[in-house]
Amino acid sequence: MLNFLLSRLLTFIPTFIGVTLISFSFIRVLPGDPIIVMAGERGMSEERYNELRAQFGFDQPLFSQYWDYMTGVLQGDLGTSFVTKKPVFDEFFALFPATLELSLCAITLAILLGIPAGVIAAINRGKFFDRALMSSALVGYSMPIFWWALLMIIVFSGILGWTPVSGRISLMFYFDDVTGFMLIDSLLSGQAGAFKSAVSHLVLPTIVLATIPLAVIARQTRSAMLEVLGEDYIRTARAKGLPPSRITYVHALRNALIPVITVIGLLVGTLLAGAILTETIFSWPGIGKWMVDSIYRRDYPVVQGGLMLIAVMVMVVNLTVDLLYGLINPKIRKS
């Protein structure tokens, strides 16, 4: 197990270097000069422009810029934002809990609904529930997220007035960050109604963000279950006279979960990095929105650092999934 962990950690190194290279060059390939963006509509003099270029090191060759950047990164310094003048690292970790909270809630919802739905569809193959579920999964999967989000806002916030439209909590509450998770902090603050407010703000973004993962997990669970239910060991389990529920949930589901967990791992990665649309529509102050804003501002350090940190998070999630894999599948654990 330790060897496995170490060898996986070693593969982090080339991946990490690759990610920094891509994020570093990616933003520089985009048209647009950060210094001109900074100056805004007023423009600036030639001298001031050159002075600023030298200050940020843009007059250096690309290679030495990368070298300087990497020296900083390895010392834990991702640079400071051009716009806010705050260290990228601090900004990221101030915003990341919001994204993490939303992603975790979304993936939990998707797992809690998707796996049982997939199982029930598989054991009722071809019947009404199966068909209904698979068609709605297809709809959920192909629906444009921004449109779905707007639809939800119109119905639940606009017409029914059940939930607020945007933000993480109502403005009447104020308390300091303890964990960064609004659900926990609002409870800790002890203010009446704070938790309820946090939940009501979280509901719509969670549902919207969970839609695609839910559809993917349900479909994947269904097909994995169908395959497993045809295996010889399921026949053995039936020949033992086990009740159907035990066959489904003990003997079949555990085997079927192996491919499902792979998919969940990939989904968590995309949620962390890709909640951008959802965060933008619901004005959710997470890293997705932060990244989009900084791309508009050509805020090089933020884009580079943000991309890199997101990539590291995704790598950590993947490692966790691999370890989880070993827990569920003994064949991997022992070899």
């Binding site: 010889d232 053995t236 039936r238 033992k240 006279g241 003994p330 064949k331």
Partner: protein, 325 residues
């Protein structure tokens, strides 16, 4: 009273290209302690008949029979819940592929103890003790440590022993062994067969051995029933069957045994078992039979009496006691 009585069991499968009859009029009577072999080529419906009795066929199968009784239970009218109390306990089955027949996610100990808990309600300690006892009984070395092994950590022969231990865990009255040695190599085959017959002697359970290997039959069985294309074509006591087969198909199977070959080339039976679309009008074996007549090709043969081994044949052979195969 007989332990198992089956009369005219038929199994049809609903396929996209129409109905397919996999088992056609299967009869069997089994008394406690009997060892019966069911012999036939692939596709002769031998496994399907027993899977039908166990209730393990998919929903595409339609099962009909005049009589299907096991140990006082009428399997035709039994509810799924009642059946689950019988299978795995009084009637149990082992399968062809030991490597895929055990759940890869659980230890073999877990899978054995599960049956003990469900059927006998033993507590944890009793289950553990009984599992060790069973492993010893089926000849698995170091049972204590093997209980926590996963199926992929053991050989095919060991896994088949685990399957056998699991099947006899609740002291069944009948054990169905569906080609238990086909996937194993020859030396292991002999060990497994020996194990099965010695367990049968110890416990006095009835043993059904489904096989296509006449050598296996000769070594183990008392009664032999030969299946062809879903029908039983002959049933005899084992020595009688080997010395005086009455159905040409049985004779051809015996002639194909390497031990019995007298010529340089091993005799074979030309052609294959008829499938869904090429079922002959008359005797199902007629297209491959060396002594088939026009009558054989036109009309299905009747089932003969006990004196000719219930042979389903228009022209049964070896009718005089002096003749031998």
């Amino acid at each position: 009273m007989s332990l198992l009585e089956v009369r005219n069991l038929c199994v049809d499968f609903e396929t996209t290209s129409g109905r397919f009859r996999a088992v056609d009029g299967f009869d069997l009577t089994l008394n406690p302690g009997d060892i019966t072999a069911i012999v036939g080529e692939s596709g002769s419906g031998k496994s399907v008949a027993f899977l039908a009795m166990m209730g393990l066929l998919p929903w595409t199968a339609t099962i009909t029979s005049d009589v299907m009784k096991f140990d006082g239970h009428d399997l035709n009218v039994i509810t799924p819940k009642q059946r689950r109390q019988i299978i795995g306990k009084d009637m149990s089955m082992i399968f062809q592929e030991p490597m895929t027949s055990l759940n890869p996610c659980y230890t073999v100990g877990f899978q054995i103890k599960e049956a003990l808990r469900i059927h006998l309600g033993m507590d944890r300690k009793a289950r553990h003790a009984r599992a060790i006892e069973l492993f010893e009984q089926v000849g698995i070395p170091a049972p204590e440590t093997r209980l926590s092994a996963f199926p992929h950590q053991m050989s095919g022969g060991m896994n088949q022993r685990v399957m056998i231990a699991m099947a006899i865990a609740c002291k069944p009255k009948m054990l169905i062994a569906d080609e238990p040695t086909t996937a194993l190599d020859v030396t292991i085959q002999a060990q497994i067969l020996e194990l099965l017959t010695s367990l049968q002697e110890e416990t006095g359970m009835a043993l059904v051995l489904i096989t296509h290997d006449m050598g296996v039959v000769a070594e183990t069985a008392q009664q032999v029933s030969v299946q062809y294309a879903g029908q039983k074509c002959e049933q005899q006591e084992v020595t009688a069957l080997f010395t005086r087969p009455h159905h040409p198909y049985t004779a051809a199977l015996l002639a194909a045994l390497p031990e019995r070959a007298t010529t340089k080339h091993l005799p074979t039976i030309p052609g294959v078992v008829p499938g869904q679309f090429d079922r002959p009008k008359g005797c199902l074996f007629s297209p491959r039979c060396s002594i088939a007549t026009d009558l054989c090709r036109e009309a299905p043969p009747p089932v003969g009496g006990a004196e000719i081994g219930f042979a389903r044949c228009h022209t049964p052979i070896n009718l005089n006691a002096e003749e031998t195969a």
